[in-house]
């Protein structure tokens, strides 16, 4: 499903917010690529800059946001340089968003069929009848039961899960190249969440769209993402393929995140937590922003911000622990377990790769 074609390239994006209290350095030097057909998950706590990043891709940041530097290349156009008209024709057509809260992201006074058809009428100039017909098809596609009879219902007549399906239908109706899903299932129950995630994957396969998936739930990331970027205090601190992040994480913050989620087999007496709270972005600390909460912090972490160190072609992490001169540390036990599992998996893959060669020799 994936290709190496980059449809979105974010480079050195730095955004400040001017507030009464001072300048909030919301995101700093954020860079990532989005490939065609892939799902990129952005993980981080509230205030880490996930939403600011995606809002700027949609051109939706608040008026006190100031882009200090960086570029946002969508194919060969820079979104940051687009005027309002260009942004409007892109939004909802080429890039669409699924919002977090299905209770507030629909217009309560508008019938849902009309809401789903609206992007077609606006972006493609489609006639109402035709647009409504397509809306009906889309409702069936996202699994709204009895769609013919429900097309003229209002949002309040639907359950949370069904409303999120409607939100997804609106996002998909123009077959956008990129879908930004900002915590799309956080407001839903686990069983409904599982249905919605399954639906999103199926639809992605059907229309080969790329998804930027924002969440703080690492369980959801494990099931949805091809690649993962971990954000902390406005910066990406580690990115890699989903396997690399979950089985061979290098940044102590990623370790902490993975550790503080109890899996169904976590023992009863020891849930490691990350001490402290995220830094104040009005005045980010010098050096590594995570240092005060990091038990592996070294002296250099408080003085100089770590650059990205390469782990593999797809895996980078910004921590001084990867510097050749850094002392070797042992990650928490749970992470060591994950790394062991990863080695086994890679071994199994390598064995598998060897097997056909042998057969050829026999032939």
């Amino acid at each position: 499903m994936q290709s190496t074609e980059k449809i979105l390239q974010v480079k050195d994006l730095t955004i400040n917010f001017n507030t009464y209290a001072g300048t909030v350095k919301a995101i700093r030097d954020v860079s990532f690529d989005l490939h065609k057909g892939e799902t990129l998950a952005i993980v981080g706590e509230s205030g880490s800059g996930k939403t600011v990043t995606t809002r700027s891709i949609m051109g939706l940041n608040a008026s006190n946001a100031k882009v200090v530097k960086g570029s946002l290349m969508f194919h060969d156009k820079d979104i940051l340089k687009m005027n309002d008209k260009e942004l409007q024709s892109m939004r909802g057509a080429e890039i669409a968003e699924i919002f977090q809260d299905p209770m507030t992201s629909l217009d309560p006074t508008m019938k849902i069929g009309r809401q789903i058809a609206e992007p077609l009428m606006i972006h493609k100039g489609m006639k109402r009848d035709k647009a409504m017909k397509q809306a009906l098809e889309m409702m069936k596609l996202v699994g709204i039961t009895d769609a013919e009879n429900r097309i003229n219902d209002y949002p309040h007549q639907f359950s949370g899960g069904m409303r999120q399906r409607i939100v997804i239908a609106i996002a998909l109706i123009n077959y956008p190249e990129i879908i930004i899903a900002d915590e799309p299932t956080t407001a839903l129950d686990v069983t409904i969440q599982a249905q919605i995630l399954r639906l999103m994957k199926e639809l992605q396969d059907k229309i080969s769209t790329s998804i930027i998936f924002i969440t703080h739930d690492l369980g959801v990331v494990a099931g949805m993402a091809d690649r993962v970027a971990v954000m902390y205090a406005g910066k990406i601190v580690e990115y890699g393929t989903v396997d690399e992040i979950f089985y061979d994480p290098k940044h102590p913050y990623t370790w902490g995140l993975l550790n503080s989620m109890p899996t169904l087999d976590t023992a009863d007496d020891s849930l490691p937590s990350i001490p402290g709270t995220p830094p104040d972005l009005l005045d980010p600390p010098t050096g590594d922003a995570f240092a005060p909460r990091n038990e592996y912090a070294m002296k250099i972490d408080t003085q100089q911000e770590p650059p990205f160190f390469k782990v593999s072609d797809t895996h980078y992490a910004a921590t001084w622990l990867l510097h050749p001169d850094a002392p070797a540390v042992t990650p928490p036990a749970q992470i060591v377990e994950r790394q062991k599992k990863y080695k086994k998996m890679q071994q199994a893959l390598a064995d598998e790769a060897k097997q056909p060669v042998k057969e050829e020799e026999e032939l």
């Binding site: 706590e45 069983t191 369980g219 979950f246 995140l257 503080s260 899996t263 709270t277 599992k341």
Partner: protein, 320 residues
């Protein structure tokens, strides 16, 4: 470890029914004939989807609703229809609640010290102002906050810190039973672990008993000794936390557990999600809680019991 043989039952809920709009066309049976006990020092987890009635149970227990019928005994004393003023006051002191939303549950116009001391003031527990400040400072330190925080307002705190303030308020009257209604679902992952660990430490130090209401199943398993699974106002299964996850018997519990996302890509790729058909519950058969294996209860009709027994047997074979 909780002593289930000889331990004291702090809370005994039996045949609790909480209906709304009784007799009208839109009657809602939010809680329908539910029974369970909570032992001293135990954490009882209550899980279920939104609308399953778990919050209603918590509110009925703490006397925010008048139950339609049934009985709730707290420390051996019936609390439904409790009239005696002194007993009521004691009950309100012994049982406290921690709320879901740390933003909505703290009065934005009150200083932290006044929020925490509200119960102390109402019950006239402090001898003088110094005693009051000292109590507040001790409480803030207990929950990992700083005593300098006491003269600030809630908006100056992060979500995790606010939830700590909520916990300090709940502890102020030295209760022995705390109802925690989704206390961590509004918090970030790294902060969730902090708050859960705090609750566990407090339980150990102060011999607290918890009713922990949540929909995050992995966190519930971690904190709870026993878990009850609710669906549409009915309790479907009760068992030890490990047991219910390792060997769920009811189809709904199975589907609920299969839907939990696990932070392991390999597991997620091979995950089989089980769907549950709620129609099975609506066949008008009479069902009640049956103890299938020791301390493992399932809501079953007479003719379903052998099926569950077989399931439990098959599971125990897997165990060995």
């Amino acid at each position: 470890m909780v002593d289930y043989e000889n331990g004291k039952k702090v809370l005994e809920v039996s045949h609790l029914k909480q209906y709304f709009n009784v007799g009208k066309s839109d009657e809602v049976r939010a809680v329908d004939d539910i029974s369970f006990d909570i032992y001293e020092g135990e954490t009882f987890g209550l899980v279920g989807e939104s609308g399953s009635g778990k919050t209603t149970i918590g509110r009925a227990i703490i006397h925010l609703y008048q139950p339609t019928s049934g009985s709730i005994k707290f420390n051996g004393e019936e609390i439904i229809g409790l009239k005696d003023r002194q007993k009521m006051q004691k009950f309100r002191r012994d049982m406290q609640m921690i709320f879901q939303d740390p933003y909505a549950s703290l009065n934005p116009r009150m200083k932290v010290k006044d929020i925490v001391a509200e119960g102390i003031d109402i019950n006239h527990l402090a001898k003088d102002d110094d005693d009051r400040s000292k109590r507040v400072e001790d409480l803030l330190e207990t929950v990992g906050l700083n005593k300098d925080h006491s003269s600030r307002y809630p908006h100056e705190f992060s979500g995790g810190q606010r939830q700590r303030i909520g916990i300090a308020r709940a502890l102020a009257l030295e209760p022995n039973f705390i109802i925690a209604d989704e206390p961590i679902s509004a918090l970030d992952v790294s902060i969730q672990a902090q708050v859960v660990n705090l609750l566990k430490d407090l339980q150990r130090e102060r011999k607290l008993t918890y009713l922990f209401i949540a929909h995050d199943l992995s966190m519930v398993k971690y904190i709870s000794d026993r878990i009850g699974v609710m669906h549409y106002g009915k309790m479907l299964e009760i068992a030890d936390a490990d047991e219910i996850y390792a060997h769920p018997l009811h189809d709904y519990t199975k589907s609920l557990i299969s839907a939990v996302p696990v932070p392991d890509p390999e597991y997620e790729r091979t995950r089989q999600q089980l769907d549950y058909d709620a129609k099975l519950e609506h066949d008008d058969k009479e069902r009640k809680m049956v103890e299938i294996s020791p301390r493992h209860w399932v809501r079953a009709s007479e003719d379903e019991i052998p099926m569950y027994q077989k399931r439990a047997q098959a599971e125990s074979l897997v165990k060995d």
